[in-house]
Symmetry: T
């Protein structure tokens, strides 16, 4: 057993018609299908598409950190 | 007809007493009075006024991109 | 009486299980215990903890500006 | 009447042979010919031309913010 | 006649199927329809769409500077 | 079927003896071997090796975005 | 007695109707009421309010460094 | 009891004749005299004085985060 | 055989109780379990946890570059 | 005779007890002793020493550009 | 003989009427008159002059790295 | 005798097989062969080569400041 940990960060873009928070949750839900033990996220960029002069989709660029597990 | 497009980006500050998302929608609604065919936005900065130790207004600085139409 | 003012900015991290806006309000409420006359805030960074593949806490790093009062 | 405002920011380069402050004032004076109700400026960049090993012109890049008025 | 000049910078996105340089020229050609006396450009960002694993369009975000003329 | 999409961004360095555009195309061609449905790229950095006082290789650091497909 | 020193940096916004330099001096004078042994400053941001198309106040955001004294 | 925490970040410059790590430890030791419950640090800048063409002191600018405790 | 190479960069956080250099080596050792032919690293961020007013762990965020091999 | 020019940029720190503009002029005057044909400058950083709670010296970090002459 | 090397980086602006790549090559060719053993370059900024609504000159700001040779 | 000083900053890359601090010292030692009176350094970037999944060389990019002496 080691006394230190190693983490990997991946860059993901989540989207939502509803809110910035929902776009973040959507990104996490999608990543959860292949990455377990996600620990934190950092918002890198917030943007979106405009449809009929309203927000069509919020797009939130995240970095997601997770522990690399020893095999 | 050309096979490429040109876009312009303008920098707008929207505000709202309610939420960051509402400040973005307010900015888009105001811009829609003079700019048609807005396509995307990028959040540049999020800030706000404080009134009585609470958020008075959220202020969201956006860049809004729209296609320049041929006359 | 002077014709100019001086402000100080402090860097605070607010958190919330609910939303980015709530994390900002929580930071302001906590600061209000020791700082009066807060005037504006600037969001410096938005991040959070992930619990069971969902957002556990939003963490919003703010700079908060307030007027330095003459004694 | 709304309870929120929308602002636009434009990027202007003022110049002056005398000083940085004078270059800022020159930019504001020129903008005042077409923009009313300017509210704030932010200095983005300070630079200049050199003539005979002295400052020929200061050039100050500003963002100028003004309220978008309802028609 | 004044001894100083004022410039405005606008942010434009040019695109091209061919090259980065062509995207810049396309942006300038489109702007020339409404802006005369453009003097310089600065590349802010270079990106593009991918179609069938190849570059579909280069998209170059430019700031374009031009002198504000006295009327 | 969902009403939102999730994207991943990977950071790739393409190189070419010929041009910046060719380095971008080389990066895309190499990625296409393992990633399908690439949608956009962003140039992060442009650099290169120098051989005999000429450009030996252009090296272009890209972020490449692609949709994460539901299984 | 130690062979090293520790410094703290605080972020202050000074203002002046006259000049950028005067706004810096005003910030230092105000800080001197509570902080002794200030050693250096760094200009972080220069901005201002506009009144009647002229500079109303220059606002200069500074970081001010001072030695933490052993008690 | 609340379900969220608030943190403050202060900016400190530690120094050491020996190493970057030692400069960090010196900054923490000095801060510990007035701040309890420090939780994390972020290195903002690494620099130093040069004496006789060797490093005289390493100077490491840190942000230090600590929980604001309810009274 | 081609006359150019393609590289991928991954973002990894290494940690160590001892030093910044050791945190970097730990990150490389962990990555070596799945990535061969790593060629270079870039330090993106240096931070750490504080335990009892001392550094508990250094955490070093790295980008690690490696050649993508033709199959 | 060529149809293009090559410039070099050097980074210089000028200082003055009086003003930011004077620190810039002092830097140019000193550089003029070894560099002829300086063409432009860019302010990179503005800072200073504090003496008795007042500005002791303004220190302005400049990049100075000059044409490389063919021999 | 040492087991390590020291490099210097200089900042150069190359220009060309033709292309970004040609501006880079022109900068390298000019530097080769006084600097031998240049090893790599990094593009810092891409800009240009506009003449008659077309690119007059591309101007590419480079950092060029070269090994410092022991005498 | 003047009441102000002018400094120049040069950008140097030091390397070492041992540590970040040693790479800094190596850069200073090499520069000392041609530059006297170096006063301070700023770390701009830390990176390195990887050999056999370990750090081969640390490479530290520094800016080194020194006073320009009157002749």
């Amino acid at each position: 057993m080691t006394d230190h940990h190693t983490y990997k960060k991946v860059e993901i873009v989540g989207s939502s018609k509803k809110s910035i928070e929902d776009a973040i949750e959507n990104a996490l839900a999608e990543c959860a299908k292949s990455i377990h033990n996600m620990e934190w996220f950092e918002v890198v960029e917030t943007r979106g598409h405009i449809v009929d002069s309203k927000v069509g989709h919020y797009q939130v660029v995240l970095k997601i950190g997770f522990k690399i597990m020893d095999s």
